[in-house]
Amino acid sequence: MTAPTAEAPTLSGRKFFMNFPVTADSHTLAAYRERGGYQALGKVLAGMQPTEVTKEVAAAGLLGHGGAAFPAGRKWGVVRLNDGEPHYVCMNADEGEPGTFKDRWLLEHVPHMCLEGLIIASFALMGRHAFIYIRGEFDLPYRRMQAAIEEAYAAGLLGENIMGSGYSLDVVLYRGAGSYVCGEASAMLASLEGKKGWPRNRPPRLTVKGLYQKPTVVNNVETLANVPVILTLGAAEFKKTGMPRSPGTQMISISGHVKRPGVYEVEYGYSWEKFLYEDCGGMLEDRALKCVIPGGVSTKILDANEIKGVTLDHNSAVAAGSQLGSGGMIAVAEGTCMVRLARVIQRFYHHESCGQCTPCREGMGWMERILDRIVRGEGRPEDIDRLYHISTANDGTTICSLGDSAGYACSAILDHYREEFEYYITNGRSMYDGRLALADPFEGAVPVPMYVGAGSAS
């Protein structure tokens, strides 16, 4: 068990489906084929019907890895193959949920595995065109995926008549341009159409009217990366890993105050405490764990007591009062100011609110400004109730769940740490030293100015 570093971004912990050493060229087609890559696609194209593929994925119980854990087989199953319409599959690689960086790892290290999953999914849905929507800030993941696509075209794994099967597929790699909300599937499809990324109401569902008004399936990167594994192993064998209702593994990206942050592949059902205290090495400065954000900032925080005896799978996380979400876990050590952390999180939601629905557009700003004045020492006694009120009033009134999530995140922090907010409002300062960072490399660092004299700014 080695710690991941920037130089060697090796996956940490026990490995399951990602069991291979990361080297300078382990992401290439040749290396992937040596590990058995594209055999699943070969098997599918040689003798399976599209419906059989979907049946296998459904039987494996594969749950979506983007955050909502919706069964992938059921999503595929609602598309009517004989409706005479074009069908599209879109890989959601717009990873932007704060704390989440596991898709980035997959795109950088197993681009062909993700691509093979996309091709198999497109075959199962009888699609002629597929899309990969990758966030605009991703540079290396983009270049790796683009290279993988070109390798696949050159090797006859994309384009006309794939592997001589008569099946043809084109893949478009589409870069986002900076927008969190485009990770929401309907906003993503609007963006793919070359428009601003506004989510839209359902029904009609995207599997009925999606991209270009045609039936479209949007799947997360990791979900698609699991597809070749399922077709290779078979559903029954795949289900031997993980829990009955959470089969397989979850890529967990952990950050914050742990000693060994990074991306880990965790079998569903693994002990949460063992993961944090052993695999991730516990907290910096050997502090106690204060709380954990389980799966991206949009999931409710759980304190150290609430994760005691809890396992890392969907049902257990829900029973504990939260969700595994996107696998973006953030650990927070004892002594951290939750008021300031809440403000950082709310600043994000305000920045990313797309402005379409009034309650979110206005509410996000109100919440940020309230938290901002508390942090400045100008909080008012009624502010805590106001924050609760806005969170509750927003809930369910908007097209997408961005505003709802902000409300849940804020309320959960208030529920757990109300006394910190009261203290901050009464005393005009944090109950702790007010700092968020541990092991801060910039603490006490004095910058030497590069520009001498005034008027350097334009």
Partner: protein, 169 residues
């Protein structure tokens, strides 16, 4: 279609020289959905010019046959587009939750001190623009910043000093 604006910025014929590239992209899209190319085309133009000029919008509207409002909305909506030139090196520091827990605030203060500017500003010599941004999916290697297209992770004062010195050359 050429304006003095585009003539001054190394794109004397507007977007004409990029059109063969755009035409190649079209081949992988289903036919009839050229509007999808709005965002990729704008990205390519911005890569060339450094920002999106008024004339680029005119050119793109004419080439793709999309409405002007669609292009305007796209430019206003997405944070990575800019209508004005930025510094040669755009430093974007993530200040979301995970990075804040590992020193993003200190990194921003340090950069402000080094460059003598605040987030949102550009140095007078046009070399550096400093911005704070939300999660860049580099949470496990915080604190970090993106310089133009490249991620710089696990930053320390020593690393920042060396990097800025190299970039300033």
């Amino acid at each position: 279609m050429t304006t003095p604006d585009s003539a001054m910025n190394g794109m004397p014929n507007g977007i004409q020289h990029l059109i063969p590239e755009f035409e190649r992209w079209k081949q992988r899209y289903p036919a009839g959905f050229e509007g999808s190319l709005t965002i990729p085309c704008l990205q390519r133009i911005q890569q060339e010019r450094g920002y999106i000029a008024d004339s680029d919008i005119d050119d793109l509207v004419a080439y793709l046959g999309v409405s002007r409002i669609q292009v305007d909305e796209v430019l206003a909506f997405y944070t990575m587009f800019t209508r004005e030139p930025l510094g040669r090196h755009h430093l974007q520091v993530c200040h979301n939750a995970s990075c804040s827990l590992r020193g993003a605030e200190g990194l921003v203060r340090y950069l402000c001190g080094k460059l003598g500017i605040q987030p949102g500003e550009t140095t007078a010599d046009g070399k550096f623009t400093l911005s704070t941004v939300e999660c860049l999916a580099s949470c496990g290697t915080a604190p970090m910043m993106m310089v133009n297209e490249t991620y710089h992770e696990d930053l320390t004062p020593t690393k920042v000093d060396a990097l800025l010195e190299e970039l300033a050359r």
